[in-house]
């Protein structure tokens, strides 16, 4: 039972985190954008718009960094 719960928890974490660096950078990017809106008063649309290229750069970096498997 403990093993099964562990597997379920592992599966839930795996839903969101595969490449740890990618997950960290996405969370960091979203946090910075949210902080820019809430603390610096930057218009939400500009900040959200910035997130689009930021996510593409993060994904590109993660894909290019990946090593071959199998």
């Amino acid at each position: 039972m403990k093993n099964l719960l562990g597997q379920i928890w592992h599966q839930v974490v795996k839903l969101f985190v595969d490449d740890g660096a990618l997950a960290f950078q996405v969370v960091l990017g979203v946090t910075l954008v949210a902080a820019a809106v809430k603390l610096l008063g930057i218009p939400a649309l500009w900040a959200a718009g910035l997130l689009v290229p930021a996510c593409l750069i993060i994904l590109w970096t993660s894909v290019m960094r990946a090593k071959k498997k199998g």
Binding site: L15, D18, V30, V33, A47, W60
Partner: protein, 245 residues
């Protein structure tokens, strides 16, 4: 006539659930054919019951969360989930990671079940194999339905997409009675990854209070952008040494 958001919701839920249900079906089929259909169906029923209870217990709690906060949180989770799927699909398409092989998964599960044949608990172990497969893949289906549906009150549409996926896999599976190896799983994963990432960007923006130009139609721009990006990334990755398939 469905608006773009409703259409995208149903499509994302359907495709995402379809991939997961195919994977669960492979294991249930292996249990049914190798050990017994009774064990396969008991395991499946038990897992489905737990998933339904989980949704019924936790589902209503989402209504208590303020809308903008929920949109923001769901958006972040969709970004993490969608970009993870998209990354893996790009790496698989470029040959850097082997494609998921349902025939191999079926053979592995069958082999394990055959080795457990003399075990006194063989029926129980077979039932647990089906139970775990349905529960673990089901958790992903539940997340997909909640994530693509909750933030804009379209859980019903998302559920319909998931139910359609289950019905289709069961219908085709019952007809062919073997693992669904012909499904272009990686292409589906890439499509879902693109859709969920687009939804993620949209909902994070909405959660922050942004009024996207064109409202829901901005999703089409995100889909086109992410689709073009993925094609370019696959090409670039292949040129750096992937085998490509």
């Amino acid at each position: 006539m469905l608006n773009p958001a409703a259409f995208s919701t149903i499509t994302a839920a359907f495709l995402g659930s379809f991939v997961e249900v195919v994977e669960a079906f492979t294991i249930v089929l292996a249990v049914g054919i190798t050990r017994s259909w009774r064990a396969a169906l008991q395991g499946t029923a038990l897992a489905l019951a737990i998933l339904v209870v989980t949704v019924l217990v936790f589902g209503p709690l989402f209504a208590l969360i303020p809308l903008h906060l929920m949109q923001f949180v769901v958006g972040v989770l969709l970004l993490l989930f969608g970009m993870r799927w998209l990354r893996k699909a790009i790496l698989r398409a470029s040959g850097f990671v082997p494609l998921h092989d349902e025939a191999q998964a079926f053979a592995q599960e069958t082999d394990v079940l055959k080795r457990q044949k003399m075990d006194k608990r063989a029926d129980f172990l077979a039932m647990m194999a089906a139970f775990k497969a349905v529960l673990l893949e089901g958790v992903e289906v539940v997340f997909i339905v909640i994530a693509v549906g909750t933030a804009h009150g379209m859980t019903f549409y998302a559920s319909m997409g998931a139910v359609a996926a289950v019905v289709l896999v069961l219908a085709v599976g019952a007809l062919v009675h073997r693992p669904l190896t012909q499904i272009p799983e990686n292409a589906l994963k890439m499509a879902v990854g693109i859709m969920l990432t687009a939804f993620g960007l949209f909902w994070v923006g909405e959660g922050l209070g942004a009024d996207w130009p064109g409202e829901d139609l901005i999703l089409l721009v995100f889909l086109a952008l992410l689709g073009g990006f993925s094609a370019f990334a696959i090409k670039a990755k292949r040129e750096t040494g992937g085998q490509g398939r």
